[in-house]
């Protein structure tokens, strides 16, 4: 089996809205795919279809070689699911949650308890193992969520926005846990709104917008395509804006954008910045702000789709 996850032309509508408008995905066994997109792009719907929680209106998909519609029960035996929608029971303790899942998977009680404790130790929630989950912090809950999806030793793991709402420390901790799982040979499909998260974890990224995959590739390929960095220039005198746009436009292939007196343009070639500074100096333009920074998801989107993410 080359592809642990394979989807072709997935369509899903909710009344008038089309959440998935023909999604194609291919995730090689043992690799990590980052599904990157803003809120409402269709990420969660795609995961729900692949995890057998939703039936697609069109297209088909397989996980581990099994059809997600016709062989849903087989698929469920291979997958683990963690995310904003698949949650643990707040009124149970950490260990009870894991034992519940273990028992449901047919693991004998003693083994289920042992496996639960083992995971809680591994995920550093053993101190809170016997406390009700409603007393957990956000980070502890996310780790427990992840632990819960690993009880059955899944081959394919779906992580739906695993770090949304976590502080930077919590994010890094969770990333490490995901990496250790991947090292164990698990195939991961991860959805995220953060470019750096996809960059950190994914072997390949699929950018999704309005229910369609609009770009795929390794993080490097994608950055090369869209501009890994954004150059921001702010002339001291707003009257110079047009000059800045013209000069920068000549140096890059992308169309510069002006917002609030700042000109921004994605660049792939680091030589653009000194060149721009030189030519602006020659033209007698004084800059009050000059910045070269990593592209945000918003900017990747802009260069891929020509429109900004709707939320921001």
């Amino acid at each position: 089996m080359n592809h642990a996850i394979w989807a072709e032309g997935l369509v899903r509508r909710f009344g008038e809205t089309t959440a998935l408008a023909g999604v194609d995905l291919a995730v090689r066994t043992g690799s990590v795919l980052g599904l990157l997109g803003p809120n409402g792009a269709g990420k969660t719907t795609a995961v729900r279809v692949l995890a057998t929680l939703l039936q697609p209106d069109g297209g088909h998909a397989t996980v581990g070689g099994y059809d997600v519609v016709k062989q849903a029960h087989q698929v469920r035996q291979l997958i683990g699911l963690t995310g904003q929608f698949a949650s643990v029971d707040e009124n149970l303790t950490g260990v009870e949650n894991l034992v519940l899942i273990g028992r449901l998977l047919g693991i004998p009680k003693v083994d289920a308890k042992r496996r639960g404790r083992e995971l809680l130790t591994e995920f550093r929630i053993d101190d809170a193992a016997d406390r009700a989950v409603k007393t957990y912090s956000g980070g502890m809950r996310r780790r427990l969520d992840l632990a819960a999806s690993l009880v059955g030793r899944p081959q394919v793991l779906f992580l739906d926005e695993p770090t949304t709402g976590l502080d930077p420390v919590g994010r890094v901790e969770l990333w490490d846990l995901v990496r250790s799982m991947v090292a164990g040979g698990v195939t991961v499909l991860l959805t995220t709104q953060y470019l750096d998260e996809a960059d950190q974890l994914a072997d390949e990224i699929a950018v999704i917008d309005h229910g369609r995959v609009i770009a795929t590739g390794t993080p490097d390929e994608l950055k090369a395509k869209t501009g890994a960095q954004t150059l921001a220039l702010r002339p001291a005198d707003p009257a110079d804006l047009a000059t800045v746009v013209t000069i920068v436009g000549e140096l890059t292939t992308s169309e510069p954008e002006t917002t609030n007196g700042t000109v921004m343009v994605p660049i792939t070639d680091p030589a653009v910045m000194p060149a721009a500074v030189r030519r602006l100096d020659d033209a007698g333009v004084t800059l009050s702000e000059l910045e070269l920074r990593r592209s945000s998801l918003d900017e990747v989107f802009l260069s891929l789709t020509g429109h900004r993410t709707e939320e921001s």
Partner: protein, 265 residues
């Protein structure tokens, strides 16, 4: 755990489904330990009703609290049963809104297990409430006027009716946006249903137009059946009536609930 090496099974066998039902019922009952308020709800509240009605209203309604207890206890048991049924919907709704349900559905378990698990747990809660009310009632002076068989028959009838009534609760749990809405429904719909019955006062004391409703109210009919089985009196007619109502409720609400359920998930 063997899933990583063995070819996955094509479907769940029914024995596994039953085991999963019991596991999920266990989960619902363990929850009570971490949420003691729920235990208060189906333990202290019915006892409060019992004490309140027996000692505050009993004398006025029936001449003496003791006689009133004999009249009212079977009805209070029925009323409490109807209220406890709402926990099925409440729990289901909480699972749906909090995402626990999606986690369960992503597991290789029988599709019906989450529902049957809840209902099984509900039956345990029901049996507990009935036993508690009967026990407290007996301490207060309630005497069973029939025999042990009849008492078991009453319990069985109550549980059958609870099963039927659970479907209404399932429907409410599935269509309600959040758990609070389920509770609002319980109060606004179940209070009139249980009070406009002969649980607390004899039907004859009410105005004619109200009697018409009270007489067909399933709560009235089930209360009469329970009274007959626990205290004595006519049994056949109200028991048949209760079973008929149970069948009607299942016939109407089960299909709607399943339909609504399919739409929601």
């Amino acid at each position: 755990m063997a899933t990583a090496t063995l070819a996955p099974a094509p479907r769940v066998n029914p024995i596994q489904g039953l085991r999963q039902t019991l596991t999920l019922a266990w989960r619902t009952l363990v929850q009570v330990r971490h949420n003691p308020f729920e235990l208060l709800d189906f333990s202290i509240q019915p006892i409060m009703f019992l004490l309140l009605f027996t000692f505050v209203f009993g004398g006025a309604i029936y001449g003496s609290p003791g006689d009133y207890l004999t009249f009212a206890l079977p009805g209070i048991i029925v009323m409490n049963m109807v209220f406890v049924t709402m926990y099925v919907g409440l729990g289901l709704n909480t699972d749906l809104t909090k995402g626990v349900f999606d986690r369960l559905r992503s597991l290789p378990i029988a599709r019906w297990a989450p529902l049957t698990g809840r209902i099984t747990a509900d039956l345990v809660k029901q049996a507990w409430s009935v036993a508690l009310l009967l026990g407290v009632g007996m301490i207060l002076g309630f005497r069973v006027g029939t025999n042990a068989m009849a008492v078991f028959a009453a319990l069985a009838l109550l549980l059958v009716f609870a099963l039927a009534f659970s479907w209404i609760s399932v429907l409410v749990g599935v269509i309600a946006k959040d758990p609070e809405k389920v509770q609002v429904f319980s109060f606004t719909a179940l209070f009139p249903l249980t009070f406009v019955s002969n649980v607390f006062v004899p039907t004859e004391t009410m105005p004619g137009w109200l009697q018409a409703f009270v007489k067909v109210n399933p709560v009235t009919i089930l209360s009469e059946a329970t009274r007959g089985l626990l205290v004595g009196g006519p049994v056949a007619r109200p028991v048949a009536g209760s079973l008929l109502w149970a069948a009607i409720i299942v016939g109407v609400f089960a299909p709607i609930a399943v339909w609504a359920f399919r739409r929601r998930v």
